[in-house]
Amino acid sequence: MDNQGDVWEVFIQSKPGLAHKHVGNIHAMGKEMALQNARDMYTRRQEGTCIWVVKMEDVTSSVPEEDGSFFEPANDKIYRQATHYVMPEGSKNI
């Protein structure tokens, strides 16, 4: 079978302690090649300390048509934000 391999999404941790961030994808046949290709493609300028690769077909995404039902219900729950609360005058370190 001749093709360009599977598409793998690439996540890079730029420094220890930080979250892995999505940077793009690469084509590869198998996990080891995906890791190596991601390393060669996305860390040529000292961008990373750790790489995750995930086959694109294994990523499940929400869909834009569900925008409303998925995300809008959070709009009126401002009590989840710290700035919602008024602290007594003069209180510190809270």
């Binding site: 079978m1 001749d2 793009g24 084509h27 046949m29 198998g30 090649m33 040529r44 995404s61 834009p64």
Partner: protein
């Protein structure tokens, strides 16, 4: 609100369009064409520069050139990957390139004859590409825009390396200076053709502007490139091969001579000096790699 209205409203409010969003068929098709053309240009563009890796005149020049061409492979990959989000695979795009259904920038159909061409290509070709790409960072399609942001960040050294090469030569021995001027003579017009036909003659530009795929017109971008490049040529004592090139005080820009559109269309339509060579090279590498890809696929299926 209809899907089309929602789409146009997003464009109007500078909200990026994402792969799963509804988009007009024409928008998708235009992007597939433009982005794959852009990707193919990066990949085919590796060949004229690759022509000089083995002969680079210093180890420093060699590693810089190699790193630059490697970046171009990377940029081709980013662009294919952005183009793939439009529902067409890299295999399909590559097939369109090899069967000449897809285009790439005609500048890469010119040969690189001396080391000075490495200077001229970096300085002028990358210089023109950067003007275009900086503008495209604002394009309306999210994956394309993100690819452009990344590419612009990485390309910042490309134009400088080219200018460094050509300025060393322009200020070097008489033979070097001759090579530098000759490279400029051969590369100047093809580089300003890179921005495409005049706005009035560009059939598909209207939709591309309306949909926010292109943010600035061919002529605006071409003018910006010329305006910033003339001083760079003068500084190193090279002459731009255009007798009509003249500063226009009123417009605050350079006037320039008539572009040879016959040559442009001949090269676009396959009759440039290297069209056949570039595509044959691509097909050869692809065919010779077939057994390797097949083996890697077979191994991955057994072991994943």
């Amino acid at each position: 609100m209809s899907d089309l209205d929602k789409f146009l409203k997003k464009i109007e409010n500078n909200v990026k369009i994402e792969p799963k969003d509804w988009m007009p068929d024409g928008y998708r098709k235009h992007l597939q064409g433009q982005m794959s053309q852009h990707a193919h240009s990066e990949v085919i563009g590796m060949q004229p520069e690759g022509n000089w890796i083995s002969r680079a005149p210093s180890l420093r020049a060699k590693v810089i050139l190699l790193a630059k061409i490697q970046d171009e492979a990377g940029h081709g990959q980013y662009l294919y990957s952005a183009a793939e989000t439009l529902g067409k695979s890299r295999d399909e795009y590559i097939n369109e390139l090899q069967t000449r259904k897809a285009k790439y920038s005609s500048i890469f159909n010119y040969p690189t004859l001396t080391w000075a061409d490495m200077g001229a290509v970096g300085w002028l070709v990358d210089g023109a590409a950067i003007v275009n790409q900086v503008s495209l960072q604002k394009t309306s399609y999210g994956p394309y825009s993100r690819a452009m942001v990344r590419i612009c960040k990485e390309e910042s050294f490309h134009q400088r390396q080219g200018y460094e090469i050509i300025s060393h030569m322009a200020l070097g021995t008489p033979e070097q200076k001759e090579m530098a001027q000759d490279a400029l003579n051969r590369t100047w017009w093809p580089s300003i053709m890179m921005f495409g036909p005049h706005d009035a003659d560009s059939a598909r530009s209207g939709d591309a502007m309306k949909w926010g795929i292109k943010v600035e017109s061919n002529d605006e971008l071409r003018q910006r490139f010329i305006d910033k490049t003339v001083q760079q040529a003068e500084l190193i004592g090279l002459t731009i091969p255009d007798p009509d090139l003249k500063w226009n005080e009123e417009r605050g820009s350079y006037d320039f001579g008539e572009i040879n559109w016959d040559e442009f269309w001949a090269v676009v339509n396959g009759d440039g000096p290297c069209n056949d060579q570039r595509i044959d090279h691509h097909i050869k590498a692809h065919e010779e790699g077939r057994w390797v890809r097949e083996a890697a696929n077979a191994y991955a299926q057994k072991n994943n």
